[in-house]
């Protein structure tokens, strides 16, 4: 056993153990914390794969941003946090997952298995020789990655499309999660202002109508998200 192998096994146990806790934890907040544990283990796997840049990106994007987003969502939907963790079809889901894993392990594993006429397992990948070290990573692999993003013969178009996708997704997320439609807010404010103007007219010229800002702040607490 080399040190790398021991590290791999430990990190894999962290990843898979965290993953199992994510899908079985009763408390959704604990599930979100175990998701961070699992992401952290995946960071370690990237380090083992000599992909340091992606380890850092995993740390920043998944642990720093996505899990915080998930924890926010868990807290904003707090009333249902402790609900039953699994639905009624969980035994079927477990069977399906185990079967899918068995098929994938059969296909990818090192042991050749013959079922009927077909042989599965012990796939030979190009450049992968059993017992030989993997080819060395070139020192400029990140330079090549960056150049492939700006080269329209490689991934330039895909890179631009991805940038548009994330922009549209962010604007869409803000629009979907907004408190109320802006149109409704404006209509309500106009109605309130009209009512007050009418009242002020009936009461006489001495009484001034409430400023718009005060009516807005008076209705604001009712419109904000209820948290328990």
């Amino acid at each position: 056993m080399t040190i790398s192998q021991v590290l791999f096994i430990v990190i894999s146990l962290v990843v898979l153990g965290g993953g199992v806790m994510v899908v079985t934890a009763r408390n959704l907040f604990h599930a979100a914390l175990f998701l961070i544990v699992s992401f952290f283990g995946v960071t370690g796997l990237y380090v083992l794969l000599d992909a340091g840049f992606f380890a850092a990106a995993q740390f920043l994007v998944y642990i720093g941003a996505i899990s915080i987003l998930i924890i926010f969502a868990v807290m904003l939907t707090r009333g249902v946090q402790l609900a039953q963790p699994a639905n009624s079809q969980w035994p079927a889901a477990l069977v399906v997952s185990v079967i899918v894993f068995a098929i994938m392990a059969l296909m990818l594993g090192p042991v050749a298995v013959t079922i009927g006429q077909r042989q599965f397992g012990s796939v030979s990948w190009p450049n992968v020789v059993e017992g030989q070290p993997a080819p060395a990573v070139p020192d400029d692999h990140l330079v090549r990655l960056g150049q492939s993003f700006v080269d329209f013969n490689q991934y330039g178009a895909a890179f631009l499309l991805t940038a548009v996708l994330i922009l549209v997704a962010m604007v869409g997320a803000i629009w979907v999660a907004r408190d109320r439609a802006l149109k409704d807010v404006m209509e309500e404010r106009a109605e309130l202002a009209a009512e007050e103007a009418q009242e002020a007219m009936l009461a006489g010229p001495v009484q001034q109508p409430l400023p718009l800002a005060e009516t807005r702040s008076a209705e604001a607490p009712a419109a904000s998200v209820a948290h328990h």
């Binding site: 993953g19 199992v20 994510v22 699992s38 995946v42 969502a73 609900a83 969980w90 080819p135 803000i174």
Partner: protein, 105 residues
Amino acid sequence: MLNGIPLYWFLLVSAALFCIGLYGVLARKNAIAILMGVELMLNAVNINLLAFWRYVAPNAAAGLAFAAFIFVIAAAEAAIGLALMISVYRNTQSVDPDKLDSMKL
């Protein structure tokens, strides 16, 4: 760093992580937990992409580029999915996908 680790170890771990995520997506009663399962599945895909990059084609940028695209798409998916869940919760006080059947005939 790869001293003595065969490629199929990575493939088996990522297959296992994918199936754990699949179980979460199929069996959880809470839509946010389902999104967590999807995140696990995307992570499994990324492990696979980077493992194949490292072992099969470390000189090509393809594996790294695809992994970077998966990162961006996972971020977009999480933002949209969680915004939808917050919106649904605000309207129905529930994030149980079994109860969101108002579009059923």
